[in-house]
Symmetry: C2
Subunit: 413 residues, 2 copies
């Protein structure tokens, strides 16, 4: 907010402050340009922005333009991109890579949201990591100072030149311009690792895929689609495990919402990983976030909706809800085991969940039906991802409404 | 209904039909007088009514005066009388023995209800049973023909001279006059044993006390209050068991509602019998009876209301609800394990039960608070007895309303 001292209704067309700090990264050198976002910009061939000479409208930290920042943590291949597509869909519009930019950009932009991948803050490229003997999970391979500075800048209404980690080449490509959106989602391995970045988050989510399910998913993707061997998949998971446990997993204690994906309990000894038990763990006492509940807020419930009024195919659907303690925090957990076969099952379940923050009856169902091709649209992963999307929209709208109520104070902060 | 052929709006003051069949019972002989109930009557010294010479208003089977008949089955000492007091309380007023009659009468009369004890239809008195070597549970010790005739007569609007079994002397005393009430409750060992009597019931309830709980209750009552020894109590229960299993227990398959009382499952291996798990088993598809449910009709639910909003002392309270099959019939079961410590727990639970047929918010709680001295007012026995009372009131009011809608057809039947 401090960056917004130039904001005034009399002087929308003012000159821009351009900060050009020099960052030295392991593996590559590059200048970063941090500047107030403008309505027009010119990119040079190296991807570094300069400012055109025409008058600029300054987007500023004050007023109603401050970016709401959401953190989404998960291991790679754990459904972050599906989650992002669901979130974007809740806000309407489609998310696309920046137009005319690097075709290997990891960024997705829609009218409301910009999703950046934190892999872009790798300070070591693939070769660099190999040389140093560190994985991408290791904080040493990531530049948290830059991550913090840039997320803070965007939150304050300032566009940044964000690096690009090219997943195809394993190299760090020239940066791309990220303008402050209404909602910035930072997704990747470490959104809650660094305390400074964590403090910038208005809401944080951790996708927690159990080892059994992760293994089943990797087999499906890497073996069936990419031709990897079972042994190499196992070895790859094992190799990642120590760093994952040390640096990624502990972040879940900070998350406002955790989506935990586990094998079903409806089929004894199931290890197919097709039917899932998914738990939405929601932290209590978070401002502007009111956890979803089943029937009776704060009590402990189990619910099998399949029965006299709703028939389901084997093994059915089972919900649970109740208060729990999670890493010392009071949380409310909604759990779904099983999967939907038909529309009526989905709408029936939706109609019995409370505090969904939907704008009309059946919105969750509508969202899931719109994307039946996304993985998990018929189970708890899709359901809870969509619900979290609605909660984020609600949080955003509450923040905007709160700012509209106290515009003078906001501008002064 | 057939008895009502004399009913007409032109001739309310007509003469009365008096039937004086002679019944021979094992153990005693007695004349029964069956007649249309009148506004005035004179009793002679033998308890047999004669009709005064003044004009009579005929109470008749047609129109709105037909008696609704409720059957309540349970073993002796299983809370039938408490249930009856709760039921009477739901209708308002107090239930008292017939005024000026036999002080050992088993009958209780209130403005709306008359409760008769089916022990009054014992055909063998205590000595007779000893001589024949049969228990009171044995159908041979009971006069089902008379039970049927008299219940049918009352249902048809005809007063009867019902025998009295004197529990103090073990003898059959001279009969007492039972006029057709709005609601007749027949309570005892065999209300659903005889198919003819069973067919007369508009609603039937079975109080099913598990052996463990029955034993704990008998010990408390017979040992603590009556000074019986543990051995004699055990022997008495064992002696009754074969006949109970043969003649009493099978009636529960016919009941529209069963209240099952079991030891708690909240305390592992509890055998104190103080904390109870009580199940209200409600038959589906019964006309004018819509089962109570928890949260979602027809699904399977478990609910621990104690949590964030409601705190309970150890071992807490747990509810369950769901569809089941009971003796081949589709039923809905509401279960409560544990007991209420405080008013807020009770009202909280009431507010989450649906289809209670209460007339105002908190009526169940009010009823239980009115009778905190009755056994079970703080657990599922009191809760479900009260709820069944409300359902019976609702059933009665529906029957009356249905008759009011089709008075001509009723009168013609």
């Amino acid at each position: 907010m401090a960056a917004c001292t130039v904001y005034s209704t009399q002087s929308l067309n003012t000159s821009c402050f351009i900060s050009t700090p020099s960052h030295t990264h392991y593996g590559f050198h590059q200048k970063q340009v941090v500047f107030y976002t403008t309505s027009k910009r010119i990119s040079n061939k190296r991807g570094i922005n300069t400012i055109s000479t025409s008058p600029y409208v300054i987007k500023c930290a004050g007023g109603d333009s401050q970016t709401v920042v959401i953190g989404l943590a998960a291991d790679s291949g754990c459904g972050k991109s599906t989650f992002m597509r669901r979130l974007t869909s809740v806000f309407g519009g489609t998310a696309e890579p920046p137009k005319g930019g690097n075709p290997d950009s990891n960024t997705l932009i829609s009218d409301t949201t910009t999703v950046i991948c934190l892999d872009d803050y790798h300070s070591l490229d693939r070769t660099g990591r190999k040389e140093k003997g560190v994985t991408a999970l290791d904080p040493k391979a990531n530049d948290f100072d830059l991550m913090y500075e840039q997320v803070k800048a965007i939150k304050d209404g300032i566009a940044v030149q964000k690096p690009i980690y090219n997943h195809v080449t394993g190299l760090l490509d020239p940066p791309e311009l990220i303008k402050p959106p209404k909602i910035l989602v930072i997704e990747g391995l470490h959104p809650m690792y660094d305390a400074r970045v964590r403090d910038l988050l208005d809401f944080s989510i951790y996708l927690d895929i159990s080892n059994e399910v992760k293994f089943a998913w990797k087999i499906q993707r890497d073996m069936a689609e990419r031709g990897h061997s079972l042994e190499s998949i196992k070895a790859s998971i094992e190799a990642r495990k120590p760093d994952f446990d040390a640096y990624i997993d502990p972040q879940k204690q900070y998350a406002d919402a955790v989506i935990e994906v586990l094998p079903t309990q409806l089929i004894p000894d199931d290890n197919e990983g097709k039917i899932l038990r998914v738990r939405l763990i929601q932290k209590e006492g978070i401002k502007k976030f009111s956890p979803v509940y089943l029937f009776d807020d704060g009590s402990t419930i189990s619910w099998i909706p399949c029965g006299r009024k709703l028939t389901c195919s084997y093994p059915g659907i089972k919900f649970a809800y109740g208060p729990e303690t999670y890493f010392g925090n009071e949380v409310s957990v909604v759990e779904m085991d099983g999967q939907f076969d038909r529309l009526d099952e989905l709408i029936y379940v939706e109609s019995h969940l409370s505090n969904l923050s939907s704008k009309f009856y059946g919105e969750v169902t509508q969202q899931l039906l719109k994307h039946t091709d996304f993985p998990g649209s018929n189970n708890g992963t899709g359901l809870f991802q969509t619900i979290v999307g609605l909660k984020i929209r609600d949080l955003y709208e509450q923040i905007v409404a709160a700012r509209a109520e106290t515009p003078v104070r906001s501008a002064k902060v």
